[in-house]
Amino acid sequence: MSPPLREAGTRPLAPAAGLPPLPAGRGGMDLAEALASALSALAANTLRAVLTALGIFIGVAAVIATVAVGAGARQQVMQQIESLGANLLVIWPGTVRQGAVRLGAGARPSLTWDDAQGVVEEVPSIVAASANIRQGLQVIAGNQNWATTIQGADPDVFVVHDWVIEEGRPFTAEEARAGRKVAVLGATVAEMLFPYENPVGARIRIAATPFEVIGVLGRKGQNAQGMDQDDVVMIPFWTARRSVMGAGRVWSRSVNFVSLKVAEGEDMRAAEEEVRALIRQRHRLAPNEPDDFNLRNMSDVAATRDASSRTLSMLLASVAAVSLLVGGIGVMNIMLVSVTERTREIGLRLAVGARRRDILAQFLIEAVVLALLGGAAGVVAGIGLSHLLGAAAGWPVLIQWDAVALAVAVSALTGLFFGFWPARRAARLDPIAALRHD
């Protein structure tokens, strides 16, 4: 058989003649093409895409909001630790046994001014100490008066608690020794008694005793228990004992608490044990006797609170993780549906020269774009939600940008991970069967 054929013309064929030549190499689909194609495929089914991305949206928003709230709480705790004074140890009188009867804390004057002096003299890692007594009293200045806490303290109290002197000066060791009637006002007290003038140099009366205001403290704000730390008047310890809070106990050396500053870089635990040993020795406690005082590392207290807020964050973060997982499964589901719906399209793309990896890339990119759109919307919503929580519930919030970046990365990875199987399924379709699919 010799078929009489039309003799072939030469290529390029006439309709394409005069067109720019095709590139010699094989390029394959570029990323911009793939992105445009993914977006148009998603746009064709907007509602479905939105619903699918919802899971990831919620997950990412939850991650960002919880991390922001957690970080805000942590930052607040850190500020509180700082406002207490860094490297702070506090001793207060403990319970005392009388036979089988345990008396309440402070029932006996078990802690004295001399304990504070002893610690700072004998424990090298303690750089400063202050013995303190406190009492709530009325303070009068001109025609203003205010009920506040009077704290009798040693001059080092400003060092121990990291108090800043905003105006004037702190009282000196000399003034403390001499029992001078000088006072340093907390910011709140200064505001209440002297709303319009500078209090330094003014005279006030504390429980009828006249004092000279020599300084005003910087503001610290609330402590961890929500008490205003600035609602205080600092006066020298022995002045307080003899002139203000005496009431028949003017020679008592007992104190409400002793605060100690551990030297920078010293091990807090070791310092704590040294102090404990010294006080036990000073109180002549036998080895089997319990402490008659309490000793706390204040940053431990705050750290415990921090740990509990961390636990809460972990819990919320796992909720967010579950939400992302569910979102990812949603992406996988919808991508499988999409692959089935577009089987003919896949067959056609294969027929016109798409390689398997082109199809794989197309569907992977679509899944990642879908997940990323959810993630991006989640970022916006998460930041909004954080601020809303901050404003509505009064919680401190701190947007953690590394968490935001992580959430976006995780949503992209979710798309990649859960999109892979549907994409591989698409890439492995038999072109003939795909073209015949209805």
Binding site: M1, S2, P3, P4, L5, R6, E7, A8, G9, T10, R11, P12, L13, A14, P15, A16, G18, L19, P20, L22, P23, G25, R26, G27, G28, M29, D30, E33, S40, A41, A44, R344, E345, G347, L348, R349, L350, A351, V352, G353, A354, R355, R356, R357, D358, D430, P431, I432, L435
Partner: protein
């Protein structure tokens, strides 16, 4: 001795013992049971036969959409029977163009974007793609409808878009699977006239059809039965343009 061996230059298509078995239940079914065929460049060949005769399997194998179970297949002198799926995709991209009965256009994309698609997989830059696609659509008579979507085009126009798409990469061979199967007589004749014009300008065409009315426009007819080639006959093709002119006047095709 096969006549084709005497022809100068590489043959467009050359198969020897081309076989395709499919697993069916416990045994296998031979969809194609050893086909030897030689097609020179520039041919216009129709493959005919009842359904199940193997003509579609033959088209799929020649179109590199499928790999034969046995035998050899050389396309432009290159043995392609054992190539990997990705290598086959490359062959399809460079050497082959497809036209289907149901057009298989992307419904969301306009005519221009549909014609651009094969060039995307060849890494052609966007600007060049647009130029070529627009020129190709103009060449098939759709220069005014570049931005119509498939559902805004008639069946004949959709098939023209598909033909433009098949030709845009400058293939050696255009493969058509029942290209007029979904079209009315007049539109089918228009497509055949277009095929003949393309063929005259040098495009080789292999067209599968069960319709003898369509097959008469080809210059050579292969007949399949039970997976075998049972007839290979050259003929003087009927002139589709003349047949079209001879049709009684019909209402103009809806645009």
């Amino acid at each position: 001795m096969r006549d084709a061996d005497a022809a100068p230059g590489p043959l467009l298509v050359e198969t020897e013992g081309l076989t395709k078995h499919y697993a069916a239940g416990e045994g296998t079914v031979a969809a194609l049971a050893g086909v030897d065929v030689a097609i020179p460049p520039g041919a216009f060949v129709a493959a005919m036969g009842p359904s199940g005769s193997g003509k579609s399997t033959f088209l799929n194998l020649i179109g590199c959409l499928d790999r034969p179970t046995g035998g050899s297949y050389r396309l432009m002198g290159e043995e392609v029977a054992r190539l990997s799926p990705d290598r086959l995709a490359e062959i399809r991209s460079r050497r082959l163009g497809f036209v289907f009965q149901s057009f298989n256009l992307l419904p969301r994309a306009d005519a221009l974007a549909n014609v651009e698609l094969p060039m995307i997989y060849r890494g052609v830059r966007r600007r060049q793609r647009r130029e070529r696609a627009a020129a190709m659509l103009a060449a098939v008579g759709l220069g005014e409808r570049l931005h119509h979507r498939p559902n805004q085009l008639s069946g004949g126009q959709q098939q023209r878009v598909a033909i433009a798409r098949a030709l845009v990469n400058g293939p050696d061979l255009l493969l058509a699977d029942e290209p007029t199967g979904a079209l009315d007589t007049r539109t089918g004749l228009e497509i055949m006239a277009l095929f003949q014009a393309l063929n005259r300008s040098g495009v080789a065409i292999l067209m599968v059809t069960h319709d003898a009315e369509v097959a008469r426009f080809a210059a050579r007819v292969l007949r399949f039965r039970d997976g075998r080639l049972v007839g290979d006959r050259a003929q003087v093709p009927a002139d589709a343009a003349a047949a079209l002119a001879a049709l009684p006047a019909a209402p103009a095709e809806a645009a």
